[in-house]
Subunit: 324 residues, 2 copies
Amino acid sequence: MAAMSEDVYVGIDVGGTKVLAGVVDNRGRILRTAQSATPGRRVDVSLVEDALTEALHEVVGDSVVRGVGLVAAGFVDATGERVMFAPHLPWVDAPVRLRLEDRWRVPVTLENDATAAAHAEATYGAASGVEDAVVVTMGTGIGGGLIFGRQVRRGTNGMAGEFGHMQVVPGGVPCECGGHGCWEQYSSGNALVRFAREQLGTRPSILEELCDGNPAALTGPMVTRAAEEGDLLAHEAFGLIGDWLGIGLANLVAAFDPGILVVGGGVSAAGDRLLEPARTALLSSLVGAGHRRVPPLVAARFGPRAGLVGAADLARQRVARLAI
Amino acid sequence: MAAMSEDVYVGIDVGGTKVLAGVVDNRGRILRTAQSATPGRRVDVSLVEDALTEALHEVVGDSVVRGVGLVAAGFVDATGERVMFAPHLPWVDAPVRLRLEDRWRVPVTLENDATAAAHAEATYGAASGVEDAVVVTMGTGIGGGLIFGRQVRRGTNGMAGEFGHMQVVPGGVPCECGGHGCWEQYSSGNALVRFAREQLGTRPSILEELCDGNPAALTGPMVTRAAEEGDLLAHEAFGLIGDWLGIGLANLVAAFDPGILVVGGGVSAAGDRLLEPARTALLSSLVGAGHRRVPPLVAARFGPRAGLVGAADLARQRVARLAI
């Protein structure tokens, strides 16, 4: 007897190097995933859309797709129809949602990856049950999402949560955005590597060995590995991005007064090595710390797959609304 | 024949030097006001509450009070019951709302002044009809309010909108809050005077005369007057706080993506002398300015009376809720 086909919702996270698709159930659990390679930025958009389609078909198999949520690192317009600009993808002011809906013949939802990740944490993760929350996603840069009244707020242009480009140092380190002294230049995977590189040679460190004496070859995973092995220089580099994490979070708390602070993204895998110095800096930087309940600072539940989980859930919500 | 007594809602704004009470109609119009002097910080709280009562009785006259909204510069707790701390008033963790309700025998609402001002601008003022807005109140410092979904958001501790204590310069000018480099140290009435004072003597300026050659005697109104008379040094001081206003607003736009930016408070009376440099700095500092609709930066409608108008309206809303 053949098994009955199941109805599924799929989240797809299209990053700079890979496309990750996953079937996600209605409790935020990832049932299975499939991957394909991202063709790159300087290619025809149809190649990227082929890669998405490939990952989608693979993950779906014999199931019936009820909805697909697609997320990418980039600017999605306020209506959730277009990708305005994505640093690692060829879409520019492209009506991605409708084009994929036409191609796949299922309801498609489009969202910024960090916003979707915040939605996942608010719905099933570390911020669930909390009225107002800030979710910060720390990878090579900093993205995030704002939760007010248990809902992720997209803002007027769909661009709320670009925390990484808040200026924390006037005339500071140049940023790819064109600005100077953006928060993500001091607290991110890139900042971790830069801080470690700057200190290289000032004292003994196994990082010298790991990068073969070539500071330019230093990577984030090397700093992480060195810190895990007790290397002091690597540990201090985490301390620096942790300090800056706390300072930037203190600014967000002064502005929003959230009930919880959630930190996700690749760098957050470092756990308390990152979060402990951040908690100390938050307490010492926050206005009125003696007159308020300082929000707990916790690691995200979903880690690097939060975007995918949020994407699938947003698709599920959209289909539920369409059905009314 | 005696006139029929009217039912009124009263807003009371208790500042560091004066208590301002006003009867406000249901379109945000102030019908009449009354004042009394604030007794100061180092007095018994009963003296402050006497001063409030005096202003209330005077403004009410023969009318029937339906509700009173009280606002103060300070921290009001999340439930709107207590003043936790107010820099210019003797209340410390005091159950102000209930005490005044018992004394006056009318429904009383308690709120932070900048939050109430933001409510007034969202309901009747420059931000009315806009879904998401940021209202910045610039006086001796910077306060403000966040509007999401046309509602002022109070945050978890009732402390959202403390924009002035977001750090913009690491290790910068010391702030009364205990921090360093807070935004309000670079963009406020106090900052205006400091910038002018620092430049005094570097070139000819009528400010020398206005302060009798004594930089310590310089005041905000003197700088305003000098700027109005075309004084270059005073004009540049406004340019500096305007630049910093734009930089700080760019940070708030990166985080919230609001549809409008409203600037109120005493310093905003300078109008475009403040707002023009701020618009320029906002545009050059804002991430993704080419990919978004940059929010208009406008002056508040209610100026220094926004807190009073918001207070009365919050009282009106509370009574309407109690009546359901």
